[in-house]
Symmetry: C2
Subunit: 179 residues, 2 copies
DNA sequence: GTCGATTGCCTGTCTGAACAAGTAAATCAC
DNA sequence: GTGATTTACTTGTTCAGACAGGCAATCGAC
């Protein structure tokens, strides 16, 4: 988040200052306004989520692993990778850190000696409500001042952009099938 | 991006498969639908930008530094940090890598012996058009099938969400001014 | 059964991003 | 001018994420 607001620290933040901080890339923004907006929104959103998660002892990304484990029960790493559309290498390290933090435990799979089952610990269940509060807080903040209709419209917009990118990714993926 | 589409690789990707890949977090998504949509959109967008940038020899983030240098001319690192709303430490390393890649050069500031001026090299100017093409391509893909009105509406939506988060960030920043 | 391919997982490496801490130069207060 | 503070930058550490490579267990074709 860097220095957030250099001139702040004392009193109220004027609306212009917020507007300023909202548009950190005024110069090169002319090129792709929507792309730039996605980029900036993503930055802020991730930063905010990171702040909230830090207070409960999780790093961004770890909460998603835990949520899946809480909902679905013990999973192999491969399953987690598929659920999160993540990377096996990243999952190896994320699980190890969660294990070191005491939030998950590994148990050898009874049917496949290559795999191990990752399961949430009892200690982790205390986190669950906090994680849900973080998500709910994030949602409230993001959609502050929006009516139900506007939220539905915003969701459709986001999903439409996502769908466009997903289709393009799938197209370019089977355009060069060298993997 | 991981394995994109496990069952693909042969022919066309059915719409359901795209939809599947579009929603990698179906389970825990019920909590904050908009937050989740932002998260997924951001992931895809970043991944796509990364793919395009990789072909021209840049890593995500580096292109923003270069765009500012091309537009504004030589800048101190502090200026770049402020323009990108980034971090001084990150900027130190990013500039070093761009320097090693031959895209920027450092020159000591004539007026401030603490600072150095970062300037784009002649070699870097060949990149400029390619970077602009990447941004334009990304914009086209993201907004495919949207009318001008819909693009404007999407932009307003994104900026509204961004504004909400920016205000909340500013508020929580001057709520605890211990920094 | 045996051999080859696939699957599950790990390590190494490189990148951005964030935080903490430190150094050196410039600026401000007196 | 002297001392305290601020500024510009660097380094160290830790995290996620992506890619390459590698090992061992499993599965499939034969």
């Amino acid at each position: 988040m860097a220095q957030s607001t250099p001139e702040a620290g004392s009193g109220r933040v004027p609306a212009e200052a917020v507007q300023e901080a909202t548009v950190p890339v005024p110069a090169a923004a002319g090129s792709g306004p929507i792309s730039h907006a996605i980029f900036r929104l993503a930055r802020l959103h991730r930063m905010f989520a990171g702040q909230l998660l830090r207070r409960i002892g999780l790093h961004p990304g770890q909460e998603l692993v835990m949520m899946h484990l809480w909902e679905l029960g013990p999973q192999r790493q491969t399953d987690l990778v598929r659920l999160l559309d993540s990377d096996a290498a990243t999952m190896t390290r994320t699980v190890r850190r969660l294990e070191q933090a005491g939030f998950v435990r590994r148990r050898p799979s009874p049917t496949d000696r290559r795999a191990s089952l990752i399961e949430p610990t009892a200690a982790s269940h205390a986190l669950r409500r906090e994680v849900e509060q973080v998500w709910s807080r994030l949602e409230d903040i993001s959609t502050a001042g929006l009516s139900d209709d506007e939220r539905a419209a915003a969701l459709r917009t986001l999903e439409r952009l996502e769908h466009n990118l997903a289709v393009a990714a799938a197209d370019s993926a089977d355009a060069d099938p060298q993997r």
